[in-house]
């Protein structure tokens, strides 16, 4: 039987098919490998919310790997996760919903690029990004909304919107096209080796973004054992099945928040904003992105263990 080449696999008993090693395959790769994968793609998609839960270590790795002229499908709201790639020349095109640093101010690289016309901006919005992503997640031709755009200038500024007559009611409705990506990069607080990723906060854009992507890469603050994941399957934000690669990046969301884990580094955000405003974007990139030889050198540069522990503690003692 073992030597017998069968026409049909179902004729060969299981004991002759068992692999030499029954170990489940790990999806862990290095941050550097992940950066190269991202840099080899055209369209990248991100999750997170404002200055929270951004996949910053993957973005830095992609910039280090020479990512250029990419298109970004951002989350509904974001700050440095869009602004830094713009500052670094990583982006050619942006689907805009909201890029700003909230109480810390406007996004300096974004604003400059937009006003100088060096960035191709699609005048999108919250439903456009979310419903377009939902459409791509299900391989649907489009997603439809009623009346909403009639009251705004999006209908003329965003050429990707289309109007048709609803055959059920005879009324005009708006169609949003699918927004797929080549690679979706996401931050998680915890992930096992097989890609089961837990986000402890966030706005729940991860599942649709993962489904709408060809490749999914997770950066995790912590790699946890399967027993942690199995404690409560409802806490797994994205099933490992959909995840291609896992990267271990402690404090990888720095300088943004990591929900329920560590605080935003407001000092570093301000430093970034100030440097870019002052025309010193390249200096920032040279020092903080291209300078460090790996993720841990970056963490040293921004304050090391002492600062990281402070940011963790800030979550607990906020007052």
């Amino acid at each position: 039987m073992p030597g017998n080449q069968q026409k049909h696999k179902f004729m060969t008993p299981l004991e002759y098919q068992a692999p030499a090693d029954l170990k489940r395959r790990s999806k862990l790769i290095s941050l550097e490998e992940a950066g190269k994968i991202i840099a080899s793609k055209q369209i990248v998609s991100l999750a997170g919310s404002h200055s929270a839960d951004a996949a910053m270590s993957l973005i830095r790795a992609a910039i280090r790997a020479g990512a250029k002229d990419m298109t970004l499908i951002p989350p509904i709201t974001t700050s440095m996760a869009a602004d830094l790639p713009i500052a670094a020349g990583m982006l050619k095109k942006l689907y805009l919903s909201y890029v700003g640093f909230e109480i810390f101010g406007m996004a300096p690289a974004f604003r400059k690029a937009a006003q100088e016309g060096t960035l191709d901006i699609v005048e999108a919005d919250e439903p456009f990004i979310l419903l377009g992503t939902q459409a791509a997640a299900g391989g649907k031709p489009f997603n439809a909304v009623q009346y909403l755009y009639d009251g705004t200038d999006h209908k003329t500024l965003n050429p990707e919107l289309k109007k048709i007559v609803d055959p059920f009611t005879g009324r005009e409705v708006w169609l949003i096209p699918p927004l797929r990506s080549d690679v979706f990069i996401m931050h998680a607080q915890a992930c096992d080796l097989y890609g089961n990723a837990q986000c402890w906060g966030g706005t729940g854009q991860e599942r649709d973004k993962a489904k709408a992507a060809d490749i999914v890469i997770v950066q995790a603050d912590e790699i946890v054992g399967s027993e942690v994941i199995q404690k409560d399957p409802s806490k797994t934000t994205v099933p490992g099945l959909w995840v291609d690669h896992v990267v271990h990046a402690p404090f990888g969301a720095h300088p943004t928040f990591s929900s329920a884990s560590y605080s935003v580094d407001d000092q570093h955000l301000k430093l970034y904003i100030d440097m870019v405003r002052e025309g010193r974007a390249q200096e920032y990139i040279d020092k903080y992105i291209l300078g460090p030889k790996d993720h841990f050198e970056y963490l040293e540069l921004v304050g090391g263990l002492r600062r990281m522990v402070d940011l963790r503690t800030a979550i607990a003692i906020r007052s």
Binding site: Y98, V99, E102, F110, Q115, E123, G201, Q205, D208
Partner: protein, 280 residues
């Protein structure tokens, strides 16, 4: 650009006044949902304050952090701050927010969830309450690029208020360069016709006054002026002709009860007290 600190007293900041005045709108005990801006936290503080003092049935919505009814007593950085999640009762996903926005409030629905004092700001607001988050100048190479429009489009599906923390002629313009959030559109019946009979904004809350809209034309009308300012101050800093009624009351200032509740139960770290809003 003068600071809008309360002239002649340090008793409260104008940001505290705005939060308290907004909170008063959510009284009554009716089940309602209300959130706050991503930026700054005045409406967020207002709605948490209302929940704790006048409306226990208010659902505090913090979409960027993805939860309902966080139990914070120090003010988060905005609705997106993950610390909104302390003691929360439920996750709220952006997909749910979008479904609520695309559906909007159906006036014929049997179950209407009134929106409390949530609001949208913008880089421009015009006399019909239209909001612009897109930018100023010819598109696409805008002279001033706005941050993007996020959910201002939801102004078209529900009656959202408008919150403006810096009252000046650059913000209050006769006609916005672009509409990203539909107010009363071009006034009169224009909005009801375009948006299936849905009402536009009820109020505009600024650092120096409150405005509402006239019943027929839906033009912006001065409703009250905050203590320390005059009708003339408002007119001088507004870039279009406001409707000015014969009598314009002074906004009832914050009471000791209100300030104490705000400072001990909502904003223990005094974020709003330290905040300086501007006029002019």
């Amino acid at each position: 650009m003068a600071e809008a600190a309360f002239p002649g007293t340090d008793d409260y900041s104008m940001a505290e006044l705005m939060a308290i005045v907004l909170a008063r709108m959510a009284g009554g005990g009716e089940e309602t949902v209300a959130g706050g801006g991503a930026n700054g936290g005045i409406p967020l503080a207002a709605n948490r304050l209302a929940q704790l003092t006048v409306n226990p049935n208010l659902w505090l919505f913090t979409g960027g952090a993805g939860v309902y009814n966080g139990k914070f007593d120090t003010l988060p950085l905005g609705t997106w701050d993950p610390s909104c999640g302390h003691g929360a009762e439920c996750k709220i996903y952006i997909a749910d927010v979008v479904d609520g926005g695309t559906k909007g409030l159906n006036p014929r629905a049997t179950r209407i969830k009134r929106l409390g004092s949530s609001g949208f700001g913008g880089i421009q607001v015009d006399k019909y309450g239209n909001v612009n988050m897109i930018g100023i100048g010819p598109h696409p190479k805008l002279k001033v690029r706005g941050p993007g429009t996020v959910g201002t489009i939801w102004m078209g599906s529900q009656s959202h208020n408008i919150i403006v923390e810096h009252h000046n002629k650059r913000v209050f313009v006769d006609k916005v360069d672009y509409v990203s959030g539909a107010g009363w559109m071009t006034g009169g019946n224009s909005r009801h016709e375009a948006l299936d009979g849905r009402d536009g904004p009820e109020y505009v809350w600024s650092s120096i006054c409150v405005c509402d809209f006239t019943e027929d034309d839906h033009r912006m009308r001065l409703a009250s002026v905050h203590p320390g300012y005059t009708v003339a101050d408002v007119v001088a800093n507004t870039g279009f002709e406001l409707v000015i009624p014969d009598e314009v009351p002074t906004t009832t200032p914050p009471t000791d009860f209100e300030l104490k509740a705000l400072r001990t139960q909502v904003d223990r770290n005094g974020v709003l007290r330290k905040r300086r809003l501007t006029v002019g």
